[in-house]
Symmetry: D2
Subunit: 435 residues, 4 copies
């Protein structure tokens, strides 16, 4: 494939993500956006074959953008109620299935059960830019899910389609640097979720130096909108303090680096919740960096322990089991011991580690490598993790094995040092599932 | 979105479509490719979470490529039989659905009914280049469908996924010209299905002159493989002879053209049968050309009438109704009359026009504009259509209306001249459905 | 020409402008950079044909970069003294020329007279990135020219070569917007010479809105370094105040604009002094915008009058001729009258207008269209131009004629209003050349 | 530098090389193209500053394209006669130079001696595409030079400017492969000068396989017109037969190749005669391939000996010195001995090797590595070189040393085998300079 193609792809894709001016010349001015949207959805499902579907889809999405909060909820409820599946064909198909028990009957039953919502969403996706609008629509939906659990089936339909559309095979890994268009870079500033990017100078410090890298996944249908990105620092040795990385005092010559540190990973699209990219991203970046810089020996994260403080507070408040833990100290040793205990032994009701970041990296096949004291002295770092941070280690030739070990019984793969620390807790902490 | 991105997209996508060398160093040499493939599919579905799925998918597809014909049939049969859905959960879900009749129960039933094949195909699609391999896999399947109708449910699974993956919103329209990479151009030579491209000089005549255009749809996941393409000639007036276009004697100055002729449309991927692109392509090209060349007044096809000769032969052989048709003549008038009759009145058992090309363009909202005598004097043209060709007219502001007229009762939208011709047939031809 | 090419061009050109690591493994550590540079220049001129010239040129330029101020002067002096032309061949060639008076003799004389510096500079230019380094070298030279007038012949050699290398035919016009790489955008912030760009938010206001454009000339050999750029605002009507443009309150819909305003033009490379780009840039941008936005009727500048305050002060201080001018007022009328007088009648000793911006635009074929009161109320605007600004009008069909009128006797092409204003000055101001 | 830039560069450059429609609406129809051209040149030199120079240059070049052969000669003669330099300023400047002997006087003399032709050519180069037209103009001139030696000073002016414009620093190395636009590839077919490319299938054999490479130099101002290109085959061992390479039977796996063979180098632009690219190209390609494929050990050519047959015939015809050479045989040994003698000992009157290909590669710092018998059995190969071919060896760490050895006294750097062969010639052949 050659660039000439991608030039057009470019123009095409740009169009998709640009603000589009209104399509409405002949709009029914009396009707509300909600009425117009409902009517457009109806047209899309029932009339006109493909002749004007793209235009109708475009109009429907434009109406959607104009809805207020109340109307959005009304629209979602309508989708849940009216764009379900008809019972009659389901019953008929089930009877046939019971009689024949064959693939043809299964296919018919499957088709009968598919909520019409899915077909509607596929049709809305016909128009340029539709995919991104639907991602936003699901983000709107997710915000209402807690209050309106009856919408969760609608959410399942989104999730089902997004899993197909955002299949790993369709994603494109891009390197982001100071030569990246400003229009993309400003999105990084907006989406960075771990260590806030203060301004363009801060951003430049993270992208421009030779010992800094950044990678993101993009999807051709959502253009220059990153889906997820990871920031990488190249170092001599495994670092234990994130402020030093963020301040970037002195550049390390490339021939002296031996370690790549993933110090920030941010999901960008709330609407893609549950469509997992992060594990693919890290592994592909490890491969990419290995290829470019064969001198790299270690691939590690420098990660927060976001649940540590909360867990610790809970432990201190509820000394259920005899003697209470005594972090009177705040000393490095005691804190490390407690953190090791938290990371290795504290379990979620699912049996997995309680800490979400630990869950993510251990589930990817990384191992718990080191606990660092006074590693993130920002307000957020102190508040969440008592200033501690963790290195998770990605070893390409261990990932598979680690992953399987973890999958068996969620036992945490870690160094013997950490295992020892975790077993030294002064007393058996109550490790009740807390989430 | 900016080019810098697409540069990476490029390298990524190139990789996907390049021949890849074998991944197998440590392969079980004793096992057959079929055994290896089955085992890889099993691994993909059951083990390892996402840690090694990409690699496993890659291996599975490589095994598939090594299968012989017999093994392919065996594999498809296995998918049909063993990757269906378990009856027990279906029955259970149906019971629940009958009790609750709600969205949650429907979701559960839908999920229970989804053949595991679909999930397997989604997982095979994880690896770079997977999409294109799956398109080939379905092409293999389609070839066996007639002999093995029990595989049609498997085909439905492919079709279901491809409809999502190749959604119009993901396609990219590209202009193809003499600056397009040779690697793409040679594919046009291979895929051209209507008027064969003899060699590179012939190809150049169709692409390089200012009064020639070519457009194709591409999909980011299948790289530089065109999905469908259309060849366009710019003319003064609506042309009635395709040889003149193909020979391209004299270039018409751009300021004198008023008509764009779509004289060849070719689907490229057998495996995408039933995923419709053609109507979107033509309409988008009409828009694109209108924008670029506001002087264009007419957008027409110059199309074959592929079923005409066969229909005519049938009519002559079976003079069921009194007097027989008398094409003793071969005269222009009589042939035109018969062609008009065929196009307007001869119907498929579905009620649609008997001629497949007519079905396609009329279904898109075009109208039947003119029947041309001695329009394709090639062997194929004479044999299929007695040398006749047809102009279908695409008028942007009529497409919607034409489409609806056609959708109602499949009545053919045509000029009054053609309608008159069709009514002048010497006797009421028996227009029995013949297909 | 196709993108695939430019991809390589890209990588090539990027390399040129990136910081390069040292080439010196086997360097004579004892020698100073100046000695090394002199020795490299010597090698470049005398030894080795082309076998290693690129490398030697690269080394020479790296040595140059390490020179301190004193050494630079020494190097320039050496070039002036030792890289001149030998007298003997000149005398011999002149004798021959006198005898033959033909082209062959002229060619020989021309070659004998060419300072060896020019050949040296051409050889330094062999290496990637050399062009940009030589532009910087000349910038260094220009700074020393006043103090060291004996170096002006060396400067003439640079100018002679740059006129060839930066020929208009080699320049590339680029549109700059918010999709441009940050690495280029930050250069705009640095190089903006008329209305300072405060920060990235300010920059975005000038580039991102639909009613803002920016264009720059680039040269393939200097990569992403802009040579000159112009900022454009699209407006309804001809604007008379630059703060309104810079603040960019409300975006004007594209279908309502009728005027393109060039409100800032900045030369970026001091080393290219005397190589004129500005006139080509403005005219090409006028053409480009006319093509894109046919609704544009007016192409004007909103320009400072940088010499006005100084001239006015001088007038007030030296009331040589009877009654003095009485700008007691500061009233709009009086100031406009004085500005008109300054622009139309105040002449440089060359006969051209005294004001440098007027010289530039009138020399390009623009006409003096309007004088705006309270048009630039910034400190700089008040100080330089008493807050006044001028619109120069570019009419494609008048440019040629205006230019010729101006060329004849430097008479200023302006509206009758301005001409009247200029003639209303209370007394014949002494319009002695002041520069 | 980023792609977004090069996209514009693209469109710009494409425009330059496209056929342009006439600019003449208001042309003096009575005047001949020659008269129009002369008048446009006059305008370009005398009138109008820069206001309309681009347009005038464009017109002049269009007039030039319409000249017939006779008119071209007339135009060149006019340039030679009327666009020389005025004697008076030369004499005056020379007097001053004799008095002052300083840089300022030299500069003035240099300027006075510069033929006005050079300025005219620089001005013609202002318009887009001008550079390429001027290259063609010089090609036209070169064809007439033998018959019209008085035009050689004009040719020197072209050569002087082209040396600046086509400075190595401005050239761009591109890899050419099967993904290159067809519009570029067809130029390779046209320009291939060593081993003719039969058709597109032949071309594909040379570009598409993994063990084939091709590189070309391009210049930004001449767009997609290659200046020179080299074809490379990757082999196991140093090959001695070119037909095997051209036929490309079996692809050698990349991990088994150890040798890169430059088997064809073609200059594309006759008008750039004397502007040397070839040495830079080969060395840069050696570097590029070394980087990409570290397994490569040998970089050699497989070159013709174009002067061998002619030299041999001459030797046989003129047995000046005692015994004559006896190639009665045609045996491998005798032919090799004679070829060694020719390559090592036969000298041009300049002292350099008689064979032009030997001159080129030895001058670049290559060494004469092996003489191959029955190496090019094509008609041309048999006729020119008795079927023999030569490998010249490029060793990056020897190039500099070889070049200096060769530069000293043109002694041929070769293996001891070849030296021995060359000394075994039966008698001291008369090695009179023959060219």
């Amino acid at each position: 494939m050659n660039m000439s193609f991608l030039q057009d792809l470019l123009s095409n894709i740009s169009m998709r993500t640009r603000g589009r001016s209104s399509l409405f010349g002949t709009l029914d001015k009396g009707a509300s956006s909600l009425q117009n949207l409902i009517s457009a959805c109806d047209t899309l499902m029932h009339r006109g074959g493909e002749a004007s579907q793209i235009l109708t889809a475009q109009r429907a999405l434009e109406h959607y953008r104009r809805l207020n909060d109340e109307e959005k909820l009304a629209f979602f409820t309508l989708l849940a109620d009216d764009y379900s599946a008809d019972p009659a064909p389901i019953h008929a198909a089930y009877q046939l299935y019971c009689e024949h028990q064959d693939n043809a009957a299964l296919e018919r039953l499957f088709n009968a059960c598919e909520p019409r919502r899915q077909d509607l969403l596929r049709r809305l996706n016909l128009c340029p830019g539709g995919t991104f609008e639907l991602v936003h629509m699901r983000a709107d939906l997710l915000k209402r899910l807690k209050q309106n659990p009856e919408l969760s089936a609608l959410d399942a339909d989104f999730a089902h389609l997004f899993a197909s559309w955002f299949n790993r095979g369709f994603l494109v890994l891009e390197s982001i640097d100071w030569n990246t268009p400003a229009a993309v870079l400003e999105k990084l500033i907006r989406y960075e979720a771990v260590h806030e990017i203060g301004d363009w100078h801060d951003l430049r410090r993270r992208l421009d130096p030779e010992d800094r890298h950044c990678y993101a996944f993009f999807h051709p249908a959502t253009g220059d909108e990153p889906l997820i990105f990871v920031e990488v620092a190249l170092c001599r040795g495994i670092p234990g303090n994130v402020q030093k990385i963020l301040e970037h005092g002195e550049e390390v010559p490339l021939d002296e680096v031996d370690t790549a540190v993933f110090y920030s990973i941010s999901n960008c699209q709330a609407g893609l919740k549950g469509v997992s990219f992060g594990n693919f991203l890290i592994k592909q970046v490890v491969q990419e960096l290995s290829r470019q810089l064969p001198q790299l020996k270690n691939f590690v994260t420098l990660s927060p322990i976001p649940g540590f403080s909360a867990w610790l507070d809970q432990q201190l408040e509820s000394p259920q089991s005899g003697e209470e833990p005594t972090p009177d100290s705040g000393t490095q040793k005691e804190l490390s011991r407690l953190a090791a205990t938290y990371l290795v032994n504290a379990k979620h009701r699912s049996g997995q580690p309680l800490d979400p970041v630990a869950r993510f990296h251990l589930g990817n096949g990384a191992s718990l490598h080191r606990i660092n004291f006074q590693a993130d002295m920002s307000a957020k770092g102190l508040q969440q993790s008592k200033g501690l941070m963790v290195n998770y280690l990605y070893q390409l030739d261990r990932i598979e094995h680690n992953h399987e070990t973890f999958s068996r019984d969620y036992s945490v793969v870690c160094t013997s040092d950490i295992r020892r620390l975790a077993s030294q807790a002064k007393q058996p902490l109550s490790l009740e599932p807390s989430a």
